[in-house]
Amino acid sequence: MEWGSVESFLSMGGRGAYVWGSYGVTALLLGLEAVLLVRRHRGARREPGAPGAEP
Protein backbone atom coordinates (compact mmCIF):
# COMPACT_ATOMS: atom_id res chain seq x y z
CA MET A 1 0.00 0.00 0.00
CA GLU A 2 1.40 3.36 -1.07
CA TRP A 3 0.06 6.37 0.75
CA GLY A 4 2.36 8.88 -0.95
CA SER A 5 2.20 11.46 1.82
CA VAL A 6 1.40 11.84 5.50
CA GLU A 7 -1.64 13.95 4.55
CA SER A 8 -3.13 11.25 2.38
CA PHE A 9 -2.52 8.72 5.16
CA LEU A 10 -4.27 10.93 7.71
CA SER A 11 -7.19 11.75 5.42
CA MET A 12 -7.99 8.05 4.77
CA GLY A 13 -9.70 8.88 1.52
CA GLY A 14 -11.68 11.68 3.18
CA ARG A 15 -12.90 9.41 5.98
CA GLY A 16 -10.11 10.18 8.45
CA ALA A 17 -12.47 11.35 11.20
CA TYR A 18 -14.27 7.98 11.23
CA VAL A 19 -11.15 5.83 10.99
CA TRP A 20 -9.08 7.79 13.51
CA GLY A 21 -12.09 8.30 15.74
CA SER A 22 -12.35 4.51 15.95
CA TYR A 23 -8.66 3.83 16.50
CA GLY A 24 -8.16 6.81 18.84
CA VAL A 25 -11.01 5.96 21.20
CA THR A 26 -10.01 2.28 21.20
CA ALA A 27 -6.38 3.10 22.10
CA LEU A 28 -7.52 5.58 24.74
CA LEU A 29 -9.90 3.12 26.42
CA LEU A 30 -7.46 0.20 26.37
CA GLY A 31 -4.71 2.45 27.76
CA LEU A 32 -7.05 3.76 30.44
CA GLU A 33 -8.01 0.24 31.46
CA ALA A 34 -4.34 -0.71 31.76
CA VAL A 35 -3.58 2.33 33.95
CA LEU A 36 -6.57 1.64 36.20
CA LEU A 37 -5.49 -2.00 36.54
CA VAL A 38 -1.97 -1.03 37.60
CA ARG A 39 -3.36 1.47 40.12
CA ARG A 40 -5.82 -1.03 41.52
CA HIS A 41 -3.13 -3.65 41.95
CA ARG A 42 -0.81 -1.15 43.66
CA GLY A 43 -3.60 -0.11 45.98
CA ALA A 44 -4.39 -3.73 46.77
CA ARG A 45 -0.76 -4.48 47.59
CA ARG A 46 -0.44 -1.44 49.84
CA GLU A 47 -3.71 -1.99 51.65
CA PRO A 48 -5.46 -5.20 50.56
CA GLY A 49 -8.61 -4.36 52.48
CA ALA A 50 -9.27 -1.13 50.64
CA PRO A 51 -11.82 -1.14 47.84
CA GLY A 52 -10.24 -1.12 44.40
CA ALA A 53 -9.29 2.14 42.75
CA GLU A 54 -10.75 0.79 39.53
CA PRO A 55 -14.49 1.04 39.13
Binding site: M1, W3, F9, M12, G13, G14, R15, Y18, V19, G21, S22, Y23, V25, T26, L29, L30, E33, A34, L37, V38, R40, H41, G43, A44, R45, P48, G49, A50, P51, G52, E54, P55
Partner: protein, 251 residues
Protein backbone atom coordinates in the same frame (compact mmCIF):
# COMPACT_ATOMS: atom_id res chain seq x y z
CA UNK B 1 -1.52 -33.85 36.58
CA UNK B 2 -4.76 -33.54 38.51
CA UNK B 3 -2.81 -32.53 41.58
CA UNK B 4 -1.08 -29.75 39.68
CA UNK B 5 -4.39 -28.39 38.37
CA UNK B 6 -5.80 -28.29 41.86
CA UNK B 7 -2.64 -26.64 43.06
CA UNK B 8 -3.00 -23.82 40.56
CA UNK B 9 -6.68 -23.50 41.27
CA UNK B 10 -5.86 -22.09 44.68
CA UNK B 11 -5.57 -18.29 44.73
CA UNK B 12 -2.35 -18.53 46.70
CA UNK B 13 -0.45 -20.40 43.99
CA UNK B 14 -2.21 -18.69 41.12
CA UNK B 15 -1.27 -15.18 42.27
CA UNK B 16 2.50 -15.52 41.58
CA UNK B 17 1.84 -17.56 38.43
CA UNK B 18 -0.35 -14.78 37.06
CA UNK B 19 2.39 -12.30 37.94
CA UNK B 20 4.85 -14.25 35.82
CA UNK B 21 2.43 -14.63 32.88
CA UNK B 22 1.28 -10.99 32.68
CA UNK B 23 4.48 -9.55 31.11
CA UNK B 24 4.47 -12.35 28.53
CA UNK B 25 0.94 -11.51 27.41
CA UNK B 26 1.69 -7.78 27.29
CA UNK B 27 4.67 -8.47 25.03
CA UNK B 28 2.58 -10.72 22.78
CA UNK B 29 -0.19 -8.11 22.63
CA UNK B 30 2.32 -5.43 21.64
CA UNK B 31 3.94 -7.60 18.97
CA UNK B 32 0.66 -8.72 17.44
CA UNK B 33 -0.79 -5.22 17.39
CA UNK B 34 2.37 -3.81 15.79
CA UNK B 35 2.21 -6.49 13.09
CA UNK B 36 -1.55 -6.15 12.73
CA UNK B 37 -1.54 -2.34 12.43
CA UNK B 38 1.33 -2.46 9.94
CA UNK B 39 -0.51 -5.05 7.83
CA UNK B 40 -3.80 -3.21 8.18
CA UNK B 41 -2.52 0.19 7.12
CA UNK B 42 0.46 -0.51 4.88
CA UNK B 43 -0.03 -3.94 3.34
CA UNK B 44 -3.80 -4.40 3.03
CA UNK B 45 -5.17 -2.80 -0.16
CA UNK B 46 -8.02 -0.32 -0.56
CA UNK B 47 -11.48 -1.88 -0.68
CA UNK B 48 -13.32 -1.84 -4.01
CA UNK B 49 -16.57 -0.43 -2.64
CA UNK B 50 -15.74 1.28 0.65
CA UNK B 51 -12.34 2.81 -0.07
CA UNK B 52 -10.22 3.41 3.03
CA UNK B 53 -12.94 3.58 5.66
CA UNK B 54 -13.17 -0.22 5.72
CA UNK B 55 -9.89 -0.20 7.74
CA UNK B 56 -12.07 0.15 10.84
CA UNK B 57 -12.61 -3.59 10.38
CA UNK B 58 -9.19 -4.29 11.89
CA UNK B 59 -10.45 -3.26 15.33
CA UNK B 60 -14.21 -3.64 14.92
CA UNK B 61 -14.27 -7.37 14.16
CA UNK B 62 -11.60 -8.39 16.74
CA UNK B 63 -13.42 -6.37 19.43
CA UNK B 64 -16.76 -7.90 18.48
CA UNK B 65 -15.31 -11.43 18.50
CA UNK B 66 -13.70 -10.83 21.90
CA UNK B 67 -16.91 -9.36 23.31
CA UNK B 68 -18.70 -12.65 22.60
CA UNK B 69 -15.79 -14.95 23.41
CA UNK B 70 -15.03 -13.27 26.76
CA UNK B 71 -18.68 -13.59 27.71
CA UNK B 72 -18.61 -17.34 27.05
CA UNK B 73 -15.39 -17.77 29.06
CA UNK B 74 -16.76 -15.58 31.86
CA UNK B 75 -20.01 -17.56 32.04
CA UNK B 76 -17.97 -20.78 31.94
CA UNK B 77 -15.82 -19.76 34.90
CA UNK B 78 -18.88 -18.52 36.77
CA UNK B 79 -20.61 -21.86 36.19
CA UNK B 80 -17.53 -23.80 37.37
CA UNK B 81 -17.41 -21.60 40.49
CA UNK B 82 -21.09 -22.23 41.14
CA UNK B 83 -20.90 -25.98 40.68
CA UNK B 84 -17.52 -26.83 42.18
CA UNK B 85 -17.47 -23.99 44.70
CA UNK B 86 -13.93 -23.04 43.71
CA UNK B 87 -13.03 -19.50 44.73
CA UNK B 88 -10.60 -18.81 41.92
CA UNK B 89 -13.10 -19.65 39.15
CA UNK B 90 -15.54 -17.03 40.40
CA UNK B 91 -12.71 -14.54 40.70
CA UNK B 92 -11.77 -15.20 37.06
CA UNK B 93 -15.35 -14.54 35.99
CA UNK B 94 -15.37 -11.30 37.94
CA UNK B 95 -12.02 -10.30 36.44
CA UNK B 96 -13.20 -10.85 32.86
CA UNK B 97 -16.42 -8.83 33.01
CA UNK B 98 -15.03 -5.25 32.76
CA UNK B 99 -12.72 -6.17 29.87
CA UNK B 100 -15.61 -7.89 28.11
CA UNK B 101 -17.79 -4.82 28.60
CA UNK B 102 -15.00 -2.66 27.20
CA UNK B 103 -14.68 -4.89 24.11
CA UNK B 104 -18.45 -4.69 23.59
CA UNK B 105 -18.36 -0.91 23.85
CA UNK B 106 -15.48 -0.72 21.36
CA UNK B 107 -17.37 -2.96 18.92
CA UNK B 108 -20.44 -0.71 19.18
CA UNK B 109 -18.45 2.52 18.98
CA UNK B 110 -16.37 1.52 15.96
CA UNK B 111 -19.45 0.01 14.33
CA UNK B 112 -21.27 3.29 14.69
CA UNK B 113 -18.36 5.24 13.19
CA UNK B 114 -18.24 2.73 10.37
CA UNK B 115 -21.98 2.64 9.75
CA UNK B 116 -22.36 6.39 9.34
CA UNK B 117 -20.22 6.75 6.17
CA UNK B 118 -21.10 3.38 4.62
CA UNK B 119 -24.73 2.62 5.51
CA UNK B 120 -25.74 6.23 6.08
CA UNK B 121 -26.68 5.91 9.76
CA UNK B 122 -24.96 5.82 13.16
CA UNK B 123 -27.43 3.34 14.54
CA UNK B 124 -30.35 1.20 13.46
CA UNK B 125 -32.46 -1.20 15.57
CA UNK B 126 -31.24 -4.14 13.60
CA UNK B 127 -31.07 -7.61 15.21
CA UNK B 128 -27.25 -7.68 15.19
CA UNK B 129 -26.79 -4.21 16.67
CA UNK B 130 -29.55 -4.62 19.24
CA UNK B 131 -28.31 -7.99 20.49
CA UNK B 132 -24.77 -6.61 20.83
CA UNK B 133 -26.17 -3.71 22.88
CA UNK B 134 -27.97 -6.24 25.08
CA UNK B 135 -24.60 -7.95 25.59
CA UNK B 136 -23.23 -4.67 26.96
CA UNK B 137 -26.11 -4.46 29.43
CA UNK B 138 -25.55 -8.09 30.45
CA UNK B 139 -21.93 -7.29 31.32
CA UNK B 140 -22.93 -4.13 33.19
CA UNK B 141 -25.73 -5.99 34.97
CA UNK B 142 -23.31 -8.76 36.02
CA UNK B 143 -20.83 -6.21 37.39
CA UNK B 144 -23.48 -4.19 39.22
CA UNK B 145 -25.08 -7.30 40.70
CA UNK B 146 -21.76 -8.57 42.02
CA UNK B 147 -20.90 -5.17 43.46
CA UNK B 148 -24.27 -4.83 45.15
CA UNK B 149 -23.90 -7.97 47.30
CA UNK B 150 -21.45 -7.64 50.16
CA UNK B 151 -20.85 -11.32 50.82
CA UNK B 152 -18.50 -12.34 47.96
CA UNK B 153 -19.67 -15.96 47.91
CA UNK B 154 -23.29 -14.93 47.56
CA UNK B 155 -22.32 -12.32 44.98
CA UNK B 156 -20.56 -15.05 43.00
CA UNK B 157 -23.67 -17.23 43.02
CA UNK B 158 -26.03 -14.47 41.94
CA UNK B 159 -23.61 -13.31 39.25
CA UNK B 160 -23.14 -16.85 37.97
CA UNK B 161 -26.87 -17.29 37.45
CA UNK B 162 -27.15 -14.00 35.56
CA UNK B 163 -24.09 -14.83 33.44
CA UNK B 164 -25.41 -18.29 32.59
CA UNK B 165 -28.87 -17.00 31.63
CA UNK B 166 -27.24 -14.37 29.42
CA UNK B 167 -25.30 -16.96 27.42
CA UNK B 168 -28.38 -17.41 25.25
CA UNK B 169 -27.68 -13.97 23.78
CA UNK B 170 -24.32 -14.98 22.29
CA UNK B 171 -25.62 -17.31 19.56
CA UNK B 172 -28.35 -14.75 18.88
CA UNK B 173 -25.68 -12.13 18.17
CA UNK B 174 -23.66 -14.52 16.05
CA UNK B 175 -26.48 -15.89 13.92
CA UNK B 176 -28.68 -12.76 13.84
CA UNK B 177 -27.43 -11.85 10.37
CA UNK B 178 -28.48 -15.29 9.10
CA UNK B 179 -31.77 -15.68 10.93
CA UNK B 180 -33.27 -12.29 10.18
CA UNK B 181 -33.14 -9.47 7.66
CA UNK B 182 -30.56 -7.07 9.01
CA UNK B 183 -28.70 -4.03 7.74
CA UNK B 184 -25.51 -5.59 9.06
CA UNK B 185 -23.88 -7.79 6.44
CA UNK B 186 -23.13 -11.46 6.99
CA UNK B 187 -19.87 -12.84 8.31
CA UNK B 188 -16.80 -12.45 6.09
CA UNK B 189 -14.96 -15.14 8.03
CA UNK B 190 -16.60 -18.31 9.24
CA UNK B 191 -15.63 -21.90 9.91
CA UNK B 192 -17.88 -23.31 7.24
CA UNK B 193 -16.56 -21.63 4.11
CA UNK B 194 -13.65 -19.73 2.61
CA UNK B 195 -13.32 -16.14 3.83
CA UNK B 196 -14.70 -13.48 1.48
CA UNK B 197 -11.79 -11.13 2.02
CA UNK B 198 -8.54 -10.46 0.21
CA UNK B 199 -5.77 -12.39 2.00
CA UNK B 200 -3.78 -9.33 3.18
CA UNK B 201 -6.93 -7.87 4.72
CA UNK B 202 -7.67 -11.17 6.41
CA UNK B 203 -4.10 -11.43 7.74
CA UNK B 204 -4.34 -7.95 9.27
CA UNK B 205 -7.65 -8.76 10.88
CA UNK B 206 -6.47 -12.06 12.34
CA UNK B 207 -3.29 -10.45 13.71
CA UNK B 208 -5.37 -7.77 15.40
CA UNK B 209 -7.69 -10.44 16.77
CA UNK B 210 -4.67 -12.17 18.34
CA UNK B 211 -3.52 -8.81 19.75
CA UNK B 212 -6.92 -8.20 21.35
CA UNK B 213 -6.93 -11.73 22.70
CA UNK B 214 -3.51 -11.34 24.32
CA UNK B 215 -4.53 -7.94 25.70
CA UNK B 216 -7.68 -9.41 27.21
CA UNK B 217 -5.72 -12.19 28.91
CA UNK B 218 -3.17 -9.74 30.31
CA UNK B 219 -5.90 -7.41 31.58
CA UNK B 220 -7.92 -10.23 33.13
CA UNK B 221 -4.85 -11.67 34.87
CA UNK B 222 -3.96 -8.24 36.28
CA UNK B 223 -7.47 -7.76 37.54
CA UNK B 224 -7.67 -11.23 39.07
CA UNK B 225 -4.47 -10.49 41.01
CA UNK B 226 -6.10 -7.44 42.57
CA UNK B 227 -9.29 -9.37 43.28
CA UNK B 228 -7.29 -12.16 44.97
CA UNK B 229 -5.53 -9.67 47.25
CA UNK B 230 -8.75 -7.81 48.06
CA UNK B 231 -10.71 -10.96 48.84
CA UNK B 232 -8.02 -12.94 50.64
CA UNK B 233 -6.72 -10.05 52.70
CA UNK B 234 -7.27 -11.94 55.96
CA UNK B 235 -5.41 -15.02 54.75
CA UNK B 236 -1.97 -15.60 56.19
CA UNK B 237 -0.27 -15.92 52.84
CA UNK B 238 -1.38 -12.44 51.74
CA UNK B 239 0.06 -10.94 54.92
CA UNK B 240 3.31 -12.84 54.37
CA UNK B 241 3.43 -11.75 50.75
CA UNK B 242 2.94 -8.09 51.53
CA UNK B 243 5.29 -7.99 54.50
CA UNK B 244 8.25 -10.06 53.38
CA UNK B 245 10.38 -8.84 56.31
CA UNK B 246 8.13 -10.62 58.78
CA UNK B 247 8.59 -14.01 57.15
CA UNK B 248 12.35 -13.84 56.70
CA UNK B 249 12.92 -15.99 59.75
CA UNK B 250 10.53 -18.80 58.85
CA UNK B 251 11.90 -21.77 56.87
Amino acid sequence: MAIRIFQFSSPQTFYPLAGRLIPLFWVLAALFSAAGLYTGFFVAPTDFQQGEVYRIIFIHVPAAWMSMFIYLVMAGWAAVGLVLNTRLSSMMAQALAPTGALMTFIALWTGSLWGRPTWGTWWVWDARLTSELILLFLYLGFMALQASIDDPRRADKAGAILAMVGVVNVPIIYFSVKWWNTLHQGASVSLTRAPSMASDMLTGMLLMALAFWMYAIAAALMRVQSIILERERHAGWVKDLLEPAAVKGSP
